[in-house]
Amino acid sequence: MTAIPFLLLILATLAGYVLNRMAARTIRDNGARLHSMTSYHGLYSALMVLVPVLTIILLWLVLEGSVIDRMVMSGLPDGMLDGQGTGAVQLVLAEIKSISRGQIFGTPEDWKLAAAERYSALRAQADWWMIAVVAIVALAILVFARSRVSAEFRARQGVEHIVSGLMIFCSTVAIFTTIGIIVSLSFETVRFLDRVPLTEFLFGLNWEPQIPLREDQIAAEGAFGWIPVILGTIVITVVALLVAVPVGLFSAIYLNEFAPRKLRATIKPVLEILAGVPTVVYGFFAILVVAPAIRSFGQSLGVDVAPNTALAAGGVMGIMLVPFISSFADDALSAVPGALRDAALGLGATRAEMMTTVLFPAAIPGIVGGVLLAVSRAIGETMIVVMAAGLIAKMTINPLDSVTTVTVQIVTLLIGDTSFDNPKTLAAFALGMMLFLVTLMINVFALRIVRKYREAYD
């Protein structure tokens, strides 16, 4: 059914193109001088149809579902949903939908059957309405566009206007995405802060997001202090940097100064492979190889190592970050003007001395920027820690212990659970908000350092 409007859209677009182009051609063949080429007349009509009608179809498809849901639910007999939580209402809706698809389990109440019938009827009606609306709008635009064809009509300008509008729309999508992130996160965060005071969230030392599922269930009250979570994130980030920074920096120094050109040309792409490996693969690598290796090594020394130690997750994350840091450092070293290098070598410094006393200090701002970007990567990295780090928040900085991170908590709080009014779900959004803010600040700061430094030498 949804294919028909799209088919209509394509037909109308083609028809617009052909009709207007033919009309323009007739005018030209009759001896008039056209302002625009005939293909622009065709394109004008095609775009005039395509843009609004496509917008209508997409909006319709996006909104249809929730509008029909609302109509069905408000059409239910009074008192059926009184005092029920959102979860229960969602369940009723899902049941009505599955009945309307013909999947009936047990014997549903009569009002549900009636609602299902109403649902199917509304859906069918909505489909027909959409086809009708699309056909009428397309036809009206076709007639309008056709009526504008004349020798003087500036079709090319018209087309270019529409195209510029489209391009401006495309570039604002990035803004809308950012706005969407900020609005959706803050919306849920505010709802979270209604239930949990801000001071408890920011300064609480306990993170136990277990909420009783039923009224009578005996469970912890649930504590939402994010300090232990952020502490775990910091531990893993530090471990990752302890691996990535030395390895990355020394690789960059070697590649930049000592490696023969041919060797460099092969080493660099191979290092980049490390950056291209999906993080879920690193996560599996951590649980399959690294964590057991660390554990058995620890046991051979008589040290007690947790099965999901921060060391394994952080170490593997460090490997992932090596190419990131090495390419940033390489760029920073290359950006130092050749004159500084030549001067140091001319004064008799060895290449190592030139590197450690001149080139490297001069490149430090750029390198720091790269390391900061790596920090923000490490904080935001999800799959490695979800698979290899722990779930329980502990106030510890022992890398051999199991710690949890912000991203782990976001994922575990949201997997499976769906209702949007649960403090657990909202807590995930609050954590997401903090994650977004922290990484955003680091990114802005780091990009500013990198840019400033580049300008200083340009």
Binding site: E160, A174, V386, V411, L414
Partner: protein, 433 residues
């Protein structure tokens, strides 16, 4: 000067050449040390890459074959009467045929019968059922069929279970090993290529689990991602690079795009969950929603690559076209963009390759559900390749370890292929001006 100040008897001061010469050895040693540390660092990175790939290959290659057993199944009309199809005692028919091949097993004992039947995969009876339902004339006949064995026996056959471990620590007991060895001695056991890995969707049983659903889900998600991010990204890039006035708004858009490229992927998942699923009411677990989310993440990559490609087209092309009377848009769309296309495509493919490996946002929109059928449209529930890897990595059954590695090898294969295409495009079509 020195001959005046130097007192007689004092050691003659060394010339600076001598001083340098004396320290030269130490300094060269230092240089060599720095060089070796650098090489060592690269060596560490390479070693890690080698261990990563090596461990995946060594645990994953086993999953590309699957142990099967060839059976002569008598489709007993007593057990499987035609009028009751598609119901019937298919498992009993299979068990009986195994029993006939194992004369030493006392099939009248319930425990023995159970352990013999456990050799076969749970999917074997459904395979037989489908054959019989498709052709009811088979009832009453003896058919020869090859069915997968269950996971423990597959592991046994691949020598992944050590026969020397004490019996109570082993998943297959001594008598069960004896049954299996008897079957093997009769030549009934074979280890063909594991096509089920590609033709089956997910399953609770490792020997039946496959990637069809995940591959289809990833396909739909990537298709959606491409259809949305490619036009939007190119449009935005052209506007920003060629038309945008230099003002606050375009600066703001630029900063925005650069920041979006660095926002953690899990945040995009939160956005998708709250906006696409929560507010727009789009279905959970649908590849379409996954594709939308991935499109938002891929767009900055495409924009940045397209802008770089547009920038590299020399101004002489633009000036020539403008001089011949083309409008600014004609210049861009008819001359600059076609010349920049190889760079744009390279960037797009690299962006899509990143999107293919992206996991976290897909987890949040529910593409980690257990779904046993492949999606037929982008709106059906599905998993994707990376989320399937995550699900399997979390599964307790031993057989899923090698399958996870195999799935990762397949994912990496796709990534390598996509990047190879991108590199080929770059080298073949990119012009140096």
């Amino acid at each position: 000067m020195s001959d005046i100040t130097s007192a007689p008897g004092a050691p003659t001061p060394k010339s600076s050449t001598e001083l340098v010469a004396a320290s030269l050895k130490r300094r060269h040693r230092k240089e060599a040390r720095l060089k070796w540390i650098g090489l060592g660092a690269i060596g560490v990175a390479f070693l890690m890459l080698a261990i990563l790939v090596g461990s995946l290959v060594s645990s994953g290659w086993q999953a590309f074959t699957q142990t099967h057993v060839t059976l002569e199944v008598f489709v007993d009309p007593e057990e499987i009467p035609e009028e009751r199809l598609p119901r019937g005692g298919f498992d009993d028919a299979l068990g009986a045929s195994l029993g006939r091949m194992l004369p030493e097993a006392d099939m009248s004992q319930r425990a023995v019968r159970k352990s013999v039947e456990r050799i076969l995969s749970n999917g074997a009876q459904f395979k037989l059922r489908d054959m019989v339902v498709a052709d009811p004339a088979l009832i009453g006949k003896t058919i020869s069929m090859r069915v997968p064995v269950s996971d423990p026996y597959d592991q046994l056959n691949k020598n992944l279970i050590d026969r020397n471990t004490p019996e109570q620590n082993r998943r297959v007991k001594d008598n069960e090993i004896a049954f299996f060895d008897a079957l093997k001695a009769q030549g009934a056991i074979s280890k063909p290529l594991n096509w089920a890995l590609f033709t089956n969707a997910d399953s609770r049983f490792p020997e039946l689990a496959g990637l069809k659903g995940a591959l289809a889900g990833s396909f739909w998600a990537l298709l959606t991602c491409f259809l949305i991010s490619f036009p939007l990204g190119i449009g935005a890039a052209i506007y920003l690079e060629e038309f945008a006035p230099k003002n606050k708004l375009s600066d703001f858009i630029e900063v925005n795009i650069n920041n979006l490229a660095a926002v953690p992927s899990v945040v995009f998942g939160l956005l998708a969950l709250a906006v696409f699923i929560g507010w727009f009411g789009l279905p959970r677990s649908a590849p379409f929603v996954g594709g939308l989310t991935l499109a938002l993440m891929t767009m900055p990559t495409i924009i940045i690559a397209t802008r770089a490609a547009l920038k590299s087209v020399p101004p002489s092309i633009r000036e020539a076209a403008l001089g011949l009377g083309a409008s600014k848009q004609q210049v861009v769309f008819q001359h600059v963009l076609p010349l920049a296309m190889p760079g744009v495509l390279t960037g797009t493919i690299i962006g899509l390759a990143q999107a293919l490996g992206e996991t976290a946002p897909l987890l949040l929109i529910g593409m980690n559900a257990f779904i046993t059928s492949a999606p037929s449209s982008p709106f059906d529930s599905a998993t994707a390749l990376p989320t399937q890897i995550f699900i399997w990595a979390d599964s307790p059954e031993r057989g899923f370890v090698s399958r996870t590695s195999a799935a990762i090898l397949i994912l990496l294969g796709f990534l390598v292929a996509m990047n190879a295409v991108a590199i080929y495009l770059r080298q073949k079509f990119e012009k140096k001006w």
